[in-house]
Symmetry: C2
Subunit: 346 residues, 2 copies
């Protein structure tokens, strides 16, 4: 009998590594960067084209019970732009492939596209194509964003050096807090369809989940202030998971200070309602689409002036491993407990 | 109550037109060509980057009962390369987004990727990235191919001129014939699981369906012989549908000669077994991934020397409409009867 290895045994990143390891050598001289970063990078005449694909699956990435289609379109676009910013590029074009069942009508797609167009307009991106098909159940979206940067300013995941400072934009855990609220409201609604939810105390965290923004302003600020990160990634799976990606690909270790993690007040209060420590939400929540990056210590004085950027740790030698430092100064190994696509009950 | 327009009322192309009409104006100067051709085209410094996305949905585009995963991977790649060739470009990079349910194991994805890698190797393309996710049912693939061409040699759908000759590569209807055989064998197998199918008489048509090739050699021949098509498209939905795309976007009419349509002997015999006229299979079958293109009459003598290219008609003034000419010299209006994604029973 043939061997059967469940996807959950390897996990998403293990599966990707296994499937793409034979493709480490590239054929085209224009292929500057392949599998294993936020974007692929293609170079023609010194200009780099960045390309990123992301897919969103109904019932996995979004639940129609509480996801307005306009927000879904907006989010599908911005999470792709986020990958381009994570390489220090500017998104310029977007393609969308869409498969929907006949449960969706034209007006529903109008709403989805309204969100897509709005995101494209806000981020200065052209929607240039894609594909449209039917599905037997649910909606599947796959978006590909293209962007540009100069070769000298492109930032990879693999450039972090020992003694670099680890920085993060904005705040963490809010998108996860918003998701928890929406899931609770859905359960309440299913139990009692006449219930009237009052979500006014959760507006910020819900918006962070349903309608995230990409960090255009941070990338612009870094450029305006001549700060070139040594490594960068966007936070889609959670701070812990993304930090480990940078450390693995840069072949370094790290120390993250738990009391430095930026958590918004509303997010913190909401997470506590669900008996989740704010730090845990920040580390493992995911979908914040903030930028995690490392900088040379010489840039510290510049970074200090931007209140939207927090220094949360530093890079160490790989022999030290990847660690969390608690306020009591004890050290805990950093582990990724973000979303595992192949470990769900379905 | 809100209006509900079924997707089937507008059809795939109607839906795309409606959703993208607000996006006709582009923001970035690098956006050379947006929605409405085989590829999007992006220009930096005189070099054109072509981008094409296609999605494949289990139960819609492929049936696991008779689609080996290796073939599926190969086909998913080549149909995207085909879009790049249709703009007279060379494919260089590929991204894949994949969502699968836990019905699939790692070994199944190994097979899928074996096909992808094989296609990439044969066509000289680098697999550079993508995304991987879970789905609640079935498999969904979305591939994005990137390619290159010089600005002067890029071919659009919209360049056909009155008196141009209409040409097609290879032969038509074989992929559809192969699909009919596979569907019949599936029905036989479901009725009697002990039946042993003998498919030796259908090898060519089955391969055309399961493992189509992109027309790399035709594009090379055109370039080597200095023939620049005035318009070009690849045949995914069927000759009739694609001819109408060229005519609509070039604002011209056409005459196609039924007795000039190239149909392979095995395809012809198979289609007749299913009581389908070979011409009908050639016009509406779809998934042949041959190239349909128009050339200036001055290039006729060159084209004549290539036995893999057939001249099947000519371009007329738009006032003449789009027509088929029968061997009896009667004229019938050309209509697209290819696959409509939103008109299926699901």
């Amino acid at each position: 009998m043939n061997k059967r290895t469940e996807l959950s045994e390897l996990g998403e990143f293990g599966v990707i590594e296994r499937l793409t390891k034979s493709q480490q050598q590239t054929t085209n001289i224009s292929t500057l960067m392949g599998v294993g970063d936020d974007c692929a990078a293609i170079m023609y005449d010194g200009k780099v084209t960045l390309v990123s694909s992301d897919c969103l699956v109904e019932g996995v990435h979004f639940d129609m019970a509480y996801t307005p289609l306009k927000h879904l379109g907006y989010k599908a676009a911005t999470v792709n732009f986020s990958d381009i910013y994570a390489c220090n590029g500017q998104p310029t074009q977007l393609l969308i492939s869409l498969a929907v069942s006949n449960r969706y009508c034209v007006e529903a797609l109008d709403e989805l596209y309204e969100g897509l167009h709005l995101a494209c307009q806000r981020y200065g991106v052209d929607l240039v194509g894609g594909d449209m098909a039917s599905s037997n159940s649910g909606m599947f979206l796959s978006l590909t964003a293209l962007g540009q940067c100069d070769k000298e300013s492109m930032v990879r995941r693999s450039g972090a050096k020992v003694h670099d400072l680890i920085c993060v934009s904005g705040n963490l855990g809010a998108a996860y807090a918003g998701l928890l609220v929406l899931q609770r409201e859905k359960a309440v609604f299913l139990a009692n369809p006449n219930s009237q939810p009052d979500l006014s105390d959760y507006q910020y965290v819900i918006e962070r989940h349903l309608k995230p923004e990409a960090q255009k302003d941070i990338v612009k600020w870094l450029s305006d202030n001549a700060v070139l990160p040594t490594a960068m990634i966007d936070i889609s799976d959670g701070l812990a998971s993304e930090t480990l990606h940078i450390c693995k690909q840069s072949n370094v270790g790290c120390e993250l200070y738990l009391d430095k993690l930026p958590v918004d007040y509303e997010a913190s209060r909401t997470l506590e309602e669900f008996h989740i420590l704010p730090d845990t939400g920040a580390l493992n929540g995911g979908e914040d689409y903030e930028l995690l990056f490392t900088i040379n210590q010489n840039d510290y004085s510049k970074i200090q002036t931007n209140k939207d950027i927090s220094v949360i740790g530093h890079i160490t030698d790989s022999s030290c491993g990847c660690n969390l430092v608690t306020p009591q100064n004890t050290t805990i190994e950093l582990k990724a407990r973000g979303f595992n696509h192949y470990n769900r009950e379905v």
